[in-house]
Structures are given as C-alpha cells and as structure tokens.
C-alpha cells in the first residue's frame, strides 16, 4: 500500500504557473496600426475648420500621387491639411514613438521598469542644451545646432545619472529615481535661470516653449531631423533587440551570453540621447510617454524586445497624436501644452506602478 502511494506521488508533475493570455502578435500589430491611422486621421480632421475624414484622405492621396484622387475640395483645405495639420500630426507621432522606444530601451539598459527619459533627467538635459542655444543665439551648425545641443545635454544628463545611481555594480531603484529626479530638478533650475536672466524677451519666450512641452507651430522644417533620428534609432534598437533582452537577465548573465555589457550600454546611451535630443529640440520635454507606453506594450505582447519595440513605437505615436489632439481641442481656441496633459495621465500611473512594485 505504501509503495503504491509513494509511486503515485512521485509521478505527479507539479502544475506550471499559468501562461499570460495574450492576443496573437500579428493581430496586435494590425490593431495598433489601425489605431494609429484612426487617431491620425481624426487629428488631421479636427480643428477650427472641421474637415471630413474622407476628404482628409482624398487630399493626402492626391498629394502623394495626383492620379489617386480627384480634387473636389477648396484649395484652402488642402493647405490646412498639408501645411498646417499634417506636419504637426506626423511630428507628434515621431515624438511619441521616439519617447516610447527610448523609454523601453532605457528600462532595459538600467534594468529598471521605472526608467523614462523625463524621470532620468535626460529630457531636462536636452532642454538645457536647447535653451542655451536659443538664449545665446548660438548657430554654429546651422539647422543642426539645436538638435545637436539638445543631444549633448541629454547625453551628459544620462551619463551623470547613470554614475550617480550606480554603487558597487548595482543600481537600486531608489537610487536611480532619486538621482534622476535630482538631476532633472537641477537641470530644470538651470534652464529657468538661463531664461529669466536672458536680456532678450523674444528668446526667453521661445525658450519657455521647451520647458512646458508642446507642439504648437510645427512646420515641415522641424519634422525631418527628429523623424530621421527616431526612425534610424528605432531600426538600430531593433537590430540589437536580442542583446537588449540579455540585459534583462542581469549584467553577469549577459556577459556570459557573449555581450560586452559596458560597451553595449555606452553605445546605446548615445543612441538614446540622439533620439531624445532631437525629439526634445522640437517638442520640449514631454513626460511619462516613455514610462507608460512600454508597460502597456509589455502587457499586450510581452517583454521580448523583438516584439515589444515595434509595438511601442506604434502605440507611442498613436498616444501622443491623441494627446496633442486633446491638447489643442479641449479648451480651443486656447491650447494646453501637451506635456501638461501627459503628466496628468502619467503621474497617477507612475504612482500606481510604484505601489504595485512595493506590494510584490
């Protein structure tokens, strides 16, 4: 009897913890693309002059190739869509995608789910760079001066936070958040100081733009540099999505799996700083997009960066286009800086995340 009993116990396989239930990945991507197109269409259509969605697409198709649609709209509408609203919507998408992708990369790089370009002071660093250029009227590199200065500020802030937060090869959450917040505060103060002490009221006015975060007055000229940087940066990150996964296993495990952790991290810091710098130089610092989007994406498609990065780019783009749409229509004709809106959504989310982590 005893024998039979123990044999029964020995063959019992312990149950595995339940797998996360998720939609198939291609379906998620398809839904995200559909969401992005829908939000973008709505954002181009909405405004002081409402343009029907069908006409929006007619104008866009005609613009892409005159044979695709016959113009049955007043020319002024085409001007509104193509010269006023489209650059702003596309730039919102680029900024949102860039911030979401950077947030995801940073979270893997510092192996901490609370990392975000704004929380780590990267955005503030970029702001200081941008403000210096505007206040002092520097123009050493032509149109590239502003993005370049913002990149320099972003990289400096990132490196500073990284070394402040690290102690004995570890980077505890508390230290990381404290170092990031302190750096962000100091850099914001520096930026404010520069603006306040500036003698040129016009420069001060345009510098304020970066501190609040907003996309008003977007033109096509502002679009190309961040768009190129975000596209190239996202493709580069996709190329290193396997090594990014390795970092989640910890530094030693990543090294044992063949990754030169220090060199990899340094390279990606530069890559992230380029993206954040060029983004901040056109949009100012918009917080929490880089924090929230990666978390939502992980719930949808899991942590593997090969799947998560494209989804983060799509969702980030859709989110910020939507946020910018709300920013300019909620109290129109006034505009709320979009950074204010994302903070209103993101702050509570951040607190929820902290409490959830503490509970575990």
């Amino acid at each position: 009897m005893t024998e039979a009993k123990t044999a029964g116990i020995a063959t019992a396989v312990p149950a595995a913890p339940a797998a996360r239930r998720r939609l198939p990945y291609p379906l998620v991507l398809l839904l995200l693309v559909a969401l992005l197109l829908a939000v973008a269409t709505a954002a181009v259509a909405a405004g002081s002059i409402r343009i029907p969605a069908g006409q929006v697409w007619g104008i866009l198709l005609h613009w892409l190739h005159p044979g695709l649609a016959a113009p049955d709209w007043p020319p002024v509408r085409a001007t509104i869509v193509l010269d006023v609203r489209l650059p702003r919507v596309l730039l919102s998408g680029v900024v949102g995608a860039g911030l979401a992708v950077c947030g995801m990369a940073l979270q893997a790089l510092v192996r901490n789910p609370l990392a975000d370009p704004m929380l780590l002071g990267v955005s503030s660093g970029a702001t200081v760079g941008a403000v210096i250029v505007v206040v002092y009227g520097v123009a050493w590199f032509g149109v590239f001066t502003l993005p370049f200065a913002a990149f320099g500020g972003a990289l400096a802030a990132l490196v500073a936070v990284y070394f402040l937060a690290r102690s004995g090869g570890r980077m505890p959450t508390v230290r990381l958040v404290l170092a990031g917040v302190a750096t962000a505060e100091v850099l914001s103060a520096v930026a404010s100081f520069l603006v306040v002490t500036s003698n040129d009221p016009h420069a001060a006015q345009s510098a304020l733009r970066w501190m609040l975060g907003g996309l008003a007055g977007t033109t096509w000229e502002m679009f190309w540099i961040p768009a190129t940087a975000v596209l190239a940066g996202t493709v580069a990150l996709l190329g290193v999505s396997r090594p990014l996964n390795l970092l989640l296993a910890g530094e030693e495990a990543a090294a044992a799996l063949g990754l030169d952790v220090h060199r990899f991290r340094a390279t990606l810091f530069v890559c992230v700083a380029v993206m954040v710098g060029t983004v901040v130089s056109v949009s100012g610092s918009i917080g929490f997009v880089g924090l929230i989007m990666p978390h939502v994406v992980r719930l949808l498609v899991g942590t593997d960066h090969r799947r998560a990065l494209p989804a983060a780019a799509l969702l980030g783009a859709a989110f910020l286009i939507g946020a910018d749409l709300a920013a300019r229509t909620l109290i129109s004709p006034e505009e709320i800086p979009v950074g204010v809106l994302t903070a209103l959504v993101g702050g509570p989310f951040f607190l929820w995340l902290m409490r959830r982590k503490a509970a575990r």
Binding site: P17, N245, A249, L257, G258, G302
Partner: protein, 269 residues
C-alpha cells in the same frame, strides 16, 4: 544541432584582488576535454569569483584563463559564448519574460542582428527544456517559478548555447533531491568539459572525475574524490570532523559529518 567540441581549459596563476585582498590567489589547474571537475570549498573560499573569471564577468588581476589555448579575455564575447556556457546563481528580474524567452537567450551568441529564431533554434530550445524536465513550463512567466524551477530553466538556457564547455555555479542550489541527481547526471552525460562549484561533497564525489578544493582563495588540493576527501582535509578546510567511507553500493567515498569538533591540528602534514 551539434554541440561544440569539448574544450581544454587551463588556468594559469589566476589571481583576483579586491580592496587589497586576494579573493583568488594564483590558482592554476587544467581540465581535460570532456572531464568534469568539481570545485568545492567553504563559503568565501573564492569559488564563485574563480568561476567568474572563466565566463568573463570578472577580469583576473593577473594570470590567464585559456580555452583550447585561447585567452578567454581576448576572444570576442560572442565567440566565447558559443564555446563556453555558464550557469550563474539564480537571478530574478523585474520584467516578466516567459520561460521560453529566457531559454531563447541562449541562442543569442549564434545570431546576428535582425536574425529571427529558425526551426533549429526552436528545436534546440524545446530539447533543452525537455532535458531539464521543464518542457511543461515553456509558456509560464519565469518570475513566477519556484527557485528550483528557475534553476532548471537557467541550466536549460546554458544547454541551448550548445557550447562544448560548461561552467556551473552551484547548479544544485534550490533543487530537490531528484533534480539534483538528474542535473548532475545530465551534465556528466553531455560529454562536455565541465567546472562545477558544489557545496555537497557527496554529490561532487559521485559525479566529478576530480575535485578541486579552494580555501581562502588558494587551491589547496586537486585530485580524485578518493584522494581529496580525507578526514584531515575536511578538518583543515571546513573545520568539521567527518567519517569518510566508500559507499557499499557505489564504491564512491561518502562523507558523514560527526557532531564533535575536529581534533585541533591533528595529523595533517
């Protein structure tokens, strides 16, 4: 699907210093291709530190670690990871990867940028999980596993690297009795060169051709279990009194701890 050829490991005067203290002190030994060597010693003896110099987590202050004559510290990381796999002591992340994704990391050294997982990778991942009796865990979130299950998954990840040489730091930690035996038997049966840090001397005696004893960072003894496991050595290195007898069934020397303190400095030359 082939595993890399077992490598010849050679440690030459490997020394690791930190804060003016030698954590590992001029350790030299060789491991022949296909041989499994056990690394034992009390806490703080330098076992983990020594192993870390093999899988490139800790650069030796001086000395060299050679794999088939190549210094592991001058090889490109990816190339080394195809030839030498490591199982570290358990680490848990803040991110919820599935077990399959964790094991898939083992394929990274064989991949270039933008390469997807092909059929071979999927088969290797499934095989590695099955070898560790963890096939049923494939879709489970890694962070929700028990300590022993995590350990098996990390060993499966090392298997998926298909390296000819394996370094294992306390692989039997957290494992229940059956999986302790299964795991060591598996490592022994792979035909790989192995260096395995173990706490359990009896398991080391059962599964390792030779045992290497570290004490205070120094290599104090190296030889077959019969040569190494002596009452004097255990008294010296571990400060315990023990009786060591060949087991009547297996013939392998087995250590039974005795409750008393060891005779003070008795008998050891």
């Amino acid at each position: 699907m082939k595993r890399g050829a077992p490598g010849a490991l050679a440690l030459r005067d490997v020394t690791v210093r930190a804060d003016g203290r030698a954590l590992v002190d001029a350790v030299s030994f060789d491991v022949a291709p296909g041989e499994v060597v056990g690394l034992v010693g009390p806490n703080g003896a330098g076992k983990s530190t020594l192993l870390r110099t093999l899988y490139r987590a800790q650069r030796p202050t001086s000395g060299r670690v050679l794999l088939d004559g190549d210094d592991v510290w001058t090889l490109p990381g990816k190339q080394l990871a195809r030839r030498l796999a490591a199982v570290l002591q358990e680490s848990s992340g803040e991110f919820d990867l599935s077990v399959r994704e964790v094991v898939a990391m083992g394929r990274t050294p064989h991949k270039r940028a933008f390469d997807g997982d092909d059929q071979t990778d999927r088969e290797i991942i499934a095989e590695s999980l099955a070898a560790l009796d963890a096939a049923h865990l494939a879709e489970a979130p890694f962070d929700r596993l028990s300590g022993g299950e995590k350990q098996r998954v990390l060993i499966a990840r090392a298997l998926a690297q298909r390296a000819g040489t394996m370094v294992l730091d306390e692989p039997t930690n957290h494992l229940d009795l059956r999986h302790q035996l299964d795991t060591l038997r598996l490592v022994g049966g792979l035909g790989v060169t192995g260096v395995v840090a173990l706490h359990d001397l009896n398991l080391a005696a059962m599964f390792c051709a030779r045992i290497c004893v570290l004490h205070g960072g120094r290599l104090v003894a190296l030889g077959t279990p019969e040569e190494i496991l002596t009452r004097d050595l255990l008294a010296d290195v571990y400060q315990v009194d023990a009786s060591i007898e060949p087991h009547p069934v297996t013939g392998v020397p087995q250590v039974v701890l005795l409750p008393g303190a060891p005779a003070p400095f008795g008998g050891h030359p």
